[in-house]
């Protein structure tokens, strides 16, 4: 089998995984900051909540209260903690898709290894996919039986919802702030 015939199915597999990773976050595309932007961006992470009553809710995590979780998309939402089955918070964009791109490039580069690519290409594929999975999960915090204290540092208001704030004016950050 020629090098290109080995590499082709690999390329397709990695491309599929690349697309999968890109679509894995529920946040609007480009909304989550890159890791480099986190230190100066003033927004909460993106939280996706599965509830016992009603459909899933997703939006910027605004604050964690004593009994409630506050989040906002185009509207401000208040969810009772007792109503939460699970929550998944994305703190920043993992760039796992880019890592998939690098793994793809790495796999392609093994063409230059000649026959040895039967060993080096699988190293790139398996290792690249493992690294992608690891990178993809790194910024995620998932809680099934929620310990909300793990989420609060990544809320827009980590100390809790400020007293007297006008809730009707709180919307999801546009991103890029």
């Amino acid at each position: 089998m020629s090098n290109s015939r080995i590499i082709s199915p690999v390329s397709v597999s990695l491309l599929c995984l690349f697309l999968l990773c890109c679509s894995a976050s529920h946040a609007p595309r480009g909304w989550l900051p890159n890791p480099d932007e986190v230190p100066f961006r003033a927004q909460g992470g993106w939280v996706q909540i599965t509830r016992t009553s009603g459909p899933d809710l997703g939006g910027e995590l605004i604050a964690i209260g004593r009994d409630t979780v506050y989040l906002a998309d185009e509207e401000f939402h208040v969810v009772s903690k007792a109503d939460v089955i699970s929550a998944r918070l994305a703190r920043y964009d993992s760039n796992a898709g880019d890592l998939g791109g690098y793994a793809f490039l790495g796999t392609v580069s093994t063409i230059s290894n000649g026959f040895v690519l039967i060993f080096t290409a699988p190293v790139w594929i398996v290792g690249g996919l493992t690294a992608m999975g690891f990178q993809h999960n790194m910024p995620l915090i998932t809680c099934e039986i929620c310990d909300f204290s793990k989420l609060s540092p990544y809320a827009r208001f980590p100390a809790g919802l400020p007293d007297g704030i006008n809730r009707s004016q709180i919307r999801m950050s546009p991103g890029g702030i």
């Binding site: 890791p35 480099d36 986190v38 230190p39 100066f40 003033a42 927004q43 703190r91 920043y92 760039n95 880019d98 890592l99 690098y102 793994a103 490039l105 790495g106 392609v108 580069s109 093994t110 063409i111 230059s112 290894n113 000649g114 026959f115 040895v116 039967i118 060993f119 080096t120 190293v123 790139w124 290792g127 690249g128 493992t130 690294a131 992608m132 690891f134 990178q135 790194m138 910024p139 609060s152 540092p153 990544y154 827009r156 208001f157 980590p158 100390a159 809790g160 919802l161 400020p162 007293d163 704030i165 004016q169 709180i170 919307r171 950050s173 702030i177």
Partner: protein, 522 residues
Amino acid sequence: MSNHSRILMTSVILCCLVIGGCSEFKKVEREIINTRSFQELSEENLESIRESSPFLKVHMKSGEIYVLGEWWAEPDGESVCGAGVHLSAARDTLKEGEFHIGIGQVAVFETNSLKTSSSVKAIAVFTGITAAVTTACIINPKACFGSCPTFYIQGMDRLRPRAEGFSASIAPSLEASDIDDLDFSALPGEDFGIEMRNEALETHVVRHVDLLAVPRNRASRALADAEGIFWEAEYLQAPVSARGSEGDCLELLAYRDSRERFSKADSSYLGSKEIIELEFRDLPEENAALMISCRQTLLSTYLLYQAYAYMGSEAGAWFARIARGEINQSEDSIHELLGGIQILIEDSKGGWKTAGRISEYGPLAVDTHLIHLDEFGSRSQKVRLKMTRGNWRIDRVALASLSKRIEPVRIHPHLVIRGKNPDRNSRELLLDSQRVLTTLPGNTYYLRYKIPSEEVVYDLFVESRGYYLEWIRKEWVEEENPQYLAQMFLSPERALRRLAPQYKKVEDKMEYHFWRSRYVKQ
């Protein structure tokens, strides 16, 4: 794809990987500090936070936030100052500039440190592997791992083979048997395992792989001479002095410790010779023999691959012509000009006589050879080793006193395992002298042997028979040159002079690239 294109493409990709990988993949570690803890921080702690987190976010009780790029805490601990941006609770920008913020209105402080992601480290490792293989095989293709089946003792050897089989059998017409000293003793009744690997771009055609278990007394050592006769050596004596062109080399030659004595090839003629002078304390009364544990450098491998490169796309046709005897070689072939290790012993008149020659080849595993000395009737304690410069790596030299001939016990493999399962078909092929086992790059076979149960110690040797076919690498074909090939056959001395500068350019890195380019996982 040409070498240049491949190098360029790989370089660009690897640069992208290195640059991109280093800059993009980071993880963020966030810390929330309440006001009381912040006030208790020492100046050193504050400085440490500033270094790891250049931005400080000051969350106000009102929900507003200050993001400060340059900041410091006032000595009284009551305020924080800095330059940055002030945002509302809705995250509208209120003001940019310098701020003096009273701690009393602060809810919490937030810091964020950036760390390199572990994924990048993994990518860096893969990049390193690819770069190493690429560098080894593209920049110096004649240093790619090659040469015959390699044998490892199961459960003991991982990196270096214990033996290599039929190294000189590079074509069907050159099929031969090869006995290699495993330098290992087994106990009676032991179930002994050998791992046979094909680690190169070669097809190995293996007729058989038998274990020769040589019984011996506990205080002695079994050795095999060039005729395949086994001897019991009761006494091994290290030389009292050893001098090569570099001076004293006794320390390297006195023990089998993987510290090998070798020299560099001559820069103008690859056939140039050198001599090592050995002196022993006393010669045994009778049956004296010289024991040498050695392997070749990669000089002969380089020349073999160079010949293949000159054959290029016509390699198959050239081999057929050689096998049919259609190519007349010069009497002084490259093989003869490089030669083996010639052992010379001083005669009674002060001259030197040839006692024997080591001419078994292979650069992978150290093998032990035995040269009989006493049939020359000399009582001299001086021995010379004459060999081509830069062609041999010698681990140990010793004088042996041989007590008697001993007969080995031939053992066939009772079990052959491929992968994790017994492979009955492969075992049957190895037991049938009319059939062969063919292995391809990356194949590994585990061969198990039952050591006899007589209460003696057995020194182990492996006897393999077969031949191998080198795969012509793409990089080599680009050097196809019938004229230079003819020169290697018809005027080998000129070829060794012409190739000397070329070889010297890669000589230092040959071993390094060679061992890193083998084709199985360790």
